[in-house]
Symmetry: C2
Amino acid sequence: MNRSEKLVHDMLAGHRLSLARIISKVENRDSDLAAMMHLLYPHSGHAQVWGITGPPGAGKSTLVDRLAANLRAEGKRVAIVAVDPSSPFTGGAILGDRIRMQQHSGDEGVFIRSLGTRGKHGGLSHATKEVVLVLDAAGFDVVLVETAGVGQTELEILKLAQTVIVVLVPESGDSIQAMKAGLMEIADVFAVNKSDRPEADKMVRELINMVGLNDHDEHTWMIPVLKTEAVRNIGVTELVAAIAGHQAHLTVTDKRKLKTAQFLKNEVLDILTERLNQTLMAAFETKSGQELLQQLVLRETDPYQAADLISGM
Amino acid sequence: MNRSEKLVHDMLAGHRLSLARIISKVENRDSDLAAMMHLLYPHSGHAQVWGITGPPGAGKSTLVDRLAANLRAEGKRVAIVAVDPSSPFTGGAILGDRIRMQQHSGDEGVFIRSLGTRGKHGGLSHATKEVVLVLDAAGFDVVLVETAGVGQTELEILKLAQTVIVVLVPESGDSIQAMKAGLMEIADVFAVNKSDRPEADKMVRELINMVGLNDHDEHTWMIPVLKTEAVRNIGVTELVAAIAGHQAHLTVTDKRKLKTAQFLKNEVLDILTERLNQTLMAAFETKSGQELLQQLVLRETDPYQAADLISGM
């Protein structure tokens, strides 16, 4: 066995350090990646992948924590991936929150990993997809992907989830109208967290109205709206049941197949895009590449012509 | 002349409606795009491109407005591109701010455009790059690109600017340490806006310290830290002077050439990535593509093998 084979073998046997190492290799775009994915991939395809998002301060991390505890009580193995495409203006709040997760330490049935990056071209959503594949192959029953939830990158990442839970808090109420289109597009389940606050019922009503106004027929998933109070562990069992309902809906309607196909198409696209990026940067280092760049700078050729030329090099 | 030629011809002659139409074609990824860019591109390469970013509430839009007025007073033609990769949680605040810009209405020397999108794979930063190229070709002396400033997408977009102005407000002070690495990476000039507030001087000192701690030699740009009060038009002339200083630094040190080359490489990469995306999605629609997808779903082949196969199709 070579090193990659040993690492994958150990990971499949449940060795956590090997799992952590493989995830690091995914993050660092290691040269052994293709070989490792080849060995891993046949073991994947069994995990449920849930995405959790919402505005900052909605209590996502606490809720994720409670979901994990609830799943553990059912005997399920749970992986948590906290993704923070941290801008210089937000810092890595999500990472700090992980300290709360210490209650799971020593439990072999829970694995927690934070992913973050700055500025890599499309890198974070690709890496997250592959980390989910690895955790799936490692035998986790449910992979919870939590995003900081404030931009295009996060929405891209959420596409990898089969079920997306949008966590809101009563104070978000005023801006519901503005968010409407975007929320309906990504949410499979709404959780109104911190639901002990005065405006909670009003917000629930508004969300239910919003869901009801959407066009629907017997194949449409009617997005459930649940009240939770994660810090007191209220409503979490009901939330897990609603998610299970959505997972069943995916299977019954064949939507699961479509989602799986889309996930795999995107993964192949990401691999080819990464290769294209490397090939192109190398091409620009060659003599003819440097000449082409010079022609671009001098406006003797345009970027579309250059794209034609360089793809023929 | 065909339609594209007519449109570009009119745009180059200063026809604003043609300019607006071309920008819409860029946003919609029109099939005439390559032909239009071919005609436009030789006229580009003269504009200064400034990026303006900062946390929500820092007063970016007002400051951009003042910068534009200041440049107009110097007789320069100014284009403003407000980019908002709006998540469902933030809505399009930046678009609303544009109402303040009405003072420029009727001035042919100012052109304002908002760009936004949801979820398109890498689409927004590519479109923004090409919009900047179009405005450059249309003869604007300075293109101001303002981003909502909260994520990976925005940082990607800022790469197209020659000079990046990071706008902060005194209240951001507490989190400066957290932002430090990220800010130093993108900022060419700091503006502490709303500088009438009590904590302003403290923040300026902290930023100056931070800049001073950075490694530097005679080729390093020492990031200036300026106080502004955009609503009362205080400090704006000084800010413009600091930006001019950075632009001169770029020229003297050859960094301008490097930035131009990087911008053009990225544009070629974006074009090829877009084509790859289209080719791949079409390939998955063919009979052999569908079979490959089925093999992926059944775990008979892995995504890296599939990438090899499909790029050979």
